[in-house]
């Protein structure tokens, strides 16, 4: 049915073209020059598709024969789409005939053919995303107002709008200002003039895509992947328009129409949409166009300059405090259909309705959807909320999860800042910074105390618990890949971190999930995938893949790295390590010192002295830099026996890691309260006294195999 209609439309246009070309030859002769002005590409569409330059009417006649070969009549969608391409080429011939003898067939406001220079000029903003898309609006809208509203909605998004047919009269009727400078380009009133925008797309492929003319496959790939165009066709959609639409679809441009008779939808390509007011949304989603947000709509400034600003109690209008009342901040992944982009809802009282100086509840749930979104990114996005809200002038934020605290200053309130603006900030920042994974985002802010209690206890806490479980259950064995991190190479050129679920980056700031998110958000960035398909020694944690990766990313400075050994090819350090672990020969164990610890260790070295042996990307067996979190990992120097080897830590560090470390010791060796056996500076800072203490406590390291 649909296919037959396309074939019919194609046949009709082909017939007309043959007639027109024959007529022109009869009148002017076959040697008559033909072409468009201000282009080096003759008939650009035909040249791009076939690689042949048509310069005379006689050559055009031959070209029609080539076009005929595209018009196969199998009842297959692809035959129909190729017939669409044939239709487009015919349209180009018909349009070219209008330009015979240097004629100027188009007059204000219509542009007709667009010069090469416009394409070169337009190509740059298309590449940078300043022009996020190209809309082709075809036919007459149900009412002039609906048509103009649609045009304006695209214009407001920076999208280039081209107009064909009755919509041009409608726009003129309502006095819409048109022209290339305002990104509204009326092409022409006959349907064949649509070829002038196709010509733009194809020349863009030749100029910007280095596509070889005649390489139709690369051409179609380029327009599909790189030219963010789409078609809005108003009813009635006749066979000819349908055939032209098939050509657009072949180029990768979806067609959105309000036609509901005799048209079947083709998912992702020919899309029905009854309401013209929804064309914008449906079109952008179908073409996967993301609009850059350049300005956040709030009454106060937003800049990193305000990040460190503190709002004192006396300067405060209201506050929200998760340590006293129920609060929460949460990112949730949803299906595309469940999220309405830029919807911001406040449930409960606004700041105006809160008592001056009062302590209130707040819970905000940011729901995101995207083809590449993964629940693992939720906490990564959430951790940025602190930074986003802090960058608002006159608003401050501390804490996270259900323990955040927010103050809105009097001045910000007087400037008109309200709860909903927090939503605006979260929305625009999430969309801007996470545009690689977030396609749609909506924000709901609860200030109603009962709702906040519900969100905190019934929604947020279960999610946090689940995430913690996921983090705990993530093991090096349970994942398929590790990640490299070379963020610090600027000052430590030969260092490469290998980040695994159980061994976070030595700075403590890059977990495996962070590295994964960094890789997705910035594919050419500092975190790259390292496969783990070719293990050499599972106990040492050595892999051929890992060795190859460190060789590559250290530019050959490192050849072998093990993940779990401090003695054999230990992982290198940049200099950002939270802690350093060093071998302590008397007790047959290891000593850990953290950066904050200023005193002496039983190694006879302070932290800075240990750091000088460990940093700079060198491998010093017996020394290793690492994050605090790694101390309680089951993979902590597993090759040498694991955490049982830890004989000394500064008191403060010991207290920080005690709970998790004791849990690991219990699980691995059945030891209760392991940290009680570990020395600290209040017990001993010289090796003899330490060994005495360890002997008294029966520390397991004393009876283990020697490390050296």
């Amino acid at each position: 049915m649909l296919i037959d209609r396309i074939f019919n439309g194609n046949d009709a246009v082909y017939g007309l073209t043959v007639q027109a070309v024959d007529g022109a030859i009869a009148q002017h002769g076959a040697d008559k020059a033909v072409g468009f002005p201000h282009t080096a590409y003759c008939l650009p569409c035909y040249y791009a598709v076939t690689g042949v330059k048509v310069k005379t009417l006689g050559e055009m006649k031959e070209a029609l024969g080539v076009v005929k070969t595209l018009m196969t009549r199998e009842q297959q969608l692809d035959d129909a789409l190729m017939s669409g391409v044939a239709t487009a080429l015919c349209a180009e011939f018909i349009e070219a005939l209008k330009y015979l003898d240097g004629a100027e067939p188009y007059s204000e406001p219509c542009y007709g053919h667009l010069a090469d220079s416009i394409i070169r000029e337009m190509g740059v903003p298309l590449v940078t995303g300043d022009i996020p898309g190209v809309a082709v609006i075809l036919g007459s809208a149900p009412t002039a107002k609906e048509g103009v509203d649609l045009i304006k909605s695209y214009q407001a998004q920076g999208i280039l709008v081209t107009l064909v047919g009755g919509i041009i009269d409608q726009a003129q009727e309502l006095g819409l200002k048109m022209g290339y400078n305002v990104r509204i380009v009326p092409l022409g009133k006959e349907v064949t003039s649509v070829i002038h925008v196709v010509s733009v797309a194809l020349r863009a492929a030749l100029i910007f895509g280095n596509v070889t003319p005649g390489d139709a496959a690369s051409l179609l790939t380029y327009t599909k992947d790189r030219v963010p165009a789409f078609v809005n066709a108003f009813k009635p959609v006749d066979d000819v328009i349908l055939a032209a639409g098939a050509g657009a679809i072949k180029l990768g441009f979806p067609v959105i129409t309000n036609e509901d008779e005799n048209v079947e939808e083709v998912p992702g390509a020919l899309i029905g949409c009854a309401n013209v007011a929804d064309f914008n949304k449906v079109s952008l989603e179908a073409r996967n166009i993301k609009i850059k947000i350049t300005k956040i709509d709030i009454p106060v400034a937003f800049a990193s300059a305000f990040e460190g600003e503190i709002i004192r109690r006396k300067d405060m209008q209201v506050e929200f405090d998760g340590s006293r009342v129920d609060c929460a901040e949460l990112v949730q992944t949803r299906e595309m259909s469940e999220v309405e982009d830029h919807k911001i809802t406040v449930v409960g009282p606004e700041v105006d309705e809160m008592e001056f100086g009062s302590k209130n509840s707040i819970a905000y749930v940011v729901e995101v959807a995207g083809k590449k979104m993964q629940p693992d990114f939720e906490p990564v996005i959430e951790r940025k909320f602190h930074n986003y809200i802090n960058c608002i002038e006159g608003v401050y934020h501390t804490g996270q999860r259900d323990m955040q605290r927010i103050r809105i200053g009097i001045e910000a309130f007087n400037a008109g800042f309200r709860i909903k603006h927090i939503g605006e900030v979260l929305y625009s920042q999430v969309k801007n910074e996470f545009d690689a994974v977030v396609d749609k985002c909506q924000v709901t802010i609860y200030t109603d105390p009962a709702e906040c209690t519900r969100i905190r206890h019934e929604v947020a806490i279960p999610v946090f618990d689940k995430r913690d479980e996921r983090l705990d259950s993530l093991t090096d064995e349970s994942v398929d890949v590790y990640y490299s991190c070379i963020l610090c190479q600027a000052f430590s050129p030969s260092h490469v971190c290998v980040v695994t679920p159980e061994r976070l980056g030595l700075c403590g700031a890059v977990s495996w999930l962070d590295a994964k998110a960094t890789n997705q958000l910035d594919p050419a960035g500092p975190c790259q995938v390292i496969t783990k398909e070719r293990p050499i020694d599972e106990n040492l944690g050595s892999y051929e893949d890992v060795d190859e990766a460190v060789q590559k990313f250290s530019q050959g400075a490192l050849e072998h790295v093990t993940l779990y050994s401090i003695m054999q090819d230990p992982m290198t350090s940049c200099g950002c390590f939270e802690c350093i672990c060093g071998i302590e020969p008397f007790s047959n164990g290891v000593v850990i010192a953290n950066r904050e610890y200023a005193g002496m260790t039983p190694l006879g070295m302070t932290f800075p002295e240990m750091a000088s042996m460990t940093g700079g990307g060198v491998q010093t067996p017996g020394f290793m830099g690492h994050g605090k979190h790694f101390i309680s990992s089951k993979k902590f120097m597993k090759a040498e026996g694991g955490i049982e080897r830890i004989v000394w830590m500064p008191k403060e560090l010991k207290e920080t890691v005690a709970e998790r470390l004791n849990k690991t010791a219990k699980e691995l060796y059945g030891i209760d309260n392991f940290t009680d056996m570990v020395g600290d500076e209040s017990i001993a800072t010289d090796p003899e006294a330490l060994v005495e203490f360890l002997t008294e406590k029966g520390h397991p390291a004393l009876s283990m195999d020697p490390m050296m």
Binding site: E121, P125, V127, F208, Q489, A490, P493, Q555, G556
Partner: protein, 313 residues
């Protein structure tokens, strides 16, 4: 034991990138050895020298430079004298007057200067932006448009504006793209990767990996260039095989050794000589570390570095 020379052979080479059009062209890169290691393999192509002129004319330049350009009043005449300088391979026009925090000349005004210079000389051209990323994102595409057909090197795109400048220079107007990063091998590589992902041919990119005047944190420049050449040749990393151009004068003429007057610092000697010394020392070190081209201002510096290249290459 007799000395037994073992040439260090690499199965990789630095891309050769030609700028300029007609019979006046100059080629950067092309070697397969470390800088001046002519004992490992014959050098394909010795390093090149550009002479920098500014849209600000001769305002604020040193006495010696002023003396060289004496009689030149228009930008066209200045450009002609620059092109005629002994040892010069190309002319580099820096549009420093465009800086919004400085004179803030309009883009139209600057494009007029570009056109005047382009009309006055037929030698290969390099155009440097004003260093402000937002302004350059608008200015340099216009420069690329104005220089169609000249096959000029546009310096430079940075991480923040690579799309606008890379697309205009590398795709729309067929110029050579300068990719500037801040003295970090990974950032240099990443910029090359994303630029080629735009569709720019890797063989049409020249890197400016960042610079410093000798003595001003310069060790970073040496180690970064060294590592880039090592990766490009030793590991055949084709995203680091772009030749390197280093604008030297823009750094060296702004440090105190070059700007302090003789009156203030009598014990330092004549000001002009100090400026030349800084320029020569820095340029020599850049070339030894891996630059395939340097941009200088003073005729004495150009002469000296030209002599150095002839002696070593």
């Amino acid at each position: 034991m007799p000395f037994n020379q073992k040439p260090q052979k690499f199965n990789a080479k630095i891309n050769d990138v030609t700028i300029g059009s007609g019979d006046k062209t100059v080629t950067f890169g092309g070697d397969c050895t470390f800088p001046f290691y002519s004992f490992d393999a014959e050098s394909e192509n010795s390093p090149k020298i550009g002479v920098e002129i500014s849209d600000m004319g001769l305002e604020g330049v040193s006495e010696g430079i002023k003396a060289y350009y004496e009689g030149a009043t228009t930008m066209g005449e200045i450009a002609q004298k620059a092109a005629a300088m002994e040892g010069a391979d190309f002319v580099a026009l820096i549009l420093e007057g465009g800086d919004p925090n400085g004179v803030n000349k309009s883009i139209d005004e600057l494009i007029e200067v570009v056109k005047e210079v382009a009309a006055a000389v037929d030698c290969p051209l390099v155009v440097e932006g004003c260093k402000n990323v937002e302004k350059d994102a608008e200015l340099l595409p216009k420069v690329a448009e104005a220089l169609q057909g000249r096959n000029a090197l546009i310096l430079s795109e940075k991480e923040e504006n690579y799309k606008a400048i890379g697309a205009a220079a590398g795709l729309a107007y067929n110029q050579i793209v300068g990719a500037e990063s801040a003295v970090d091998i990974n950032l240099a590589k990443q910029l090359n990767v994303v630029t080629t992902q735009l569709g720019v041919d890797a063989k049409k990119i020249v890197m400016n990996i960042g610079s410093a005047a000798a003595g001003y944190g310069y060790e970073y420049v040496v180690s970064t260039m060294d590592r880039i050449k090592g990766a490009a040749l030793g590991q055949n990393d084709n995203m680091l095989q772009m030749p390197i151009i280093t604008p030297v004068s823009a750094e060296t003429w702004n440090v105190k050794e070059a700007t302090a007057s003789e009156k203030d610092m009598p014990e330092w000697g004549p000001q002009d000589e100090r400026g030349i010394d800084m320029e020569v020392e820095t340029a020599a070190a850049d070339l030894a570390a891996g630059s395939d081209a340097v941009i200088l201002r003073h005729p004495e510096s150009v002469k000296t570095i030209s002599k150095l290249i002839k002696a070593l290459a």
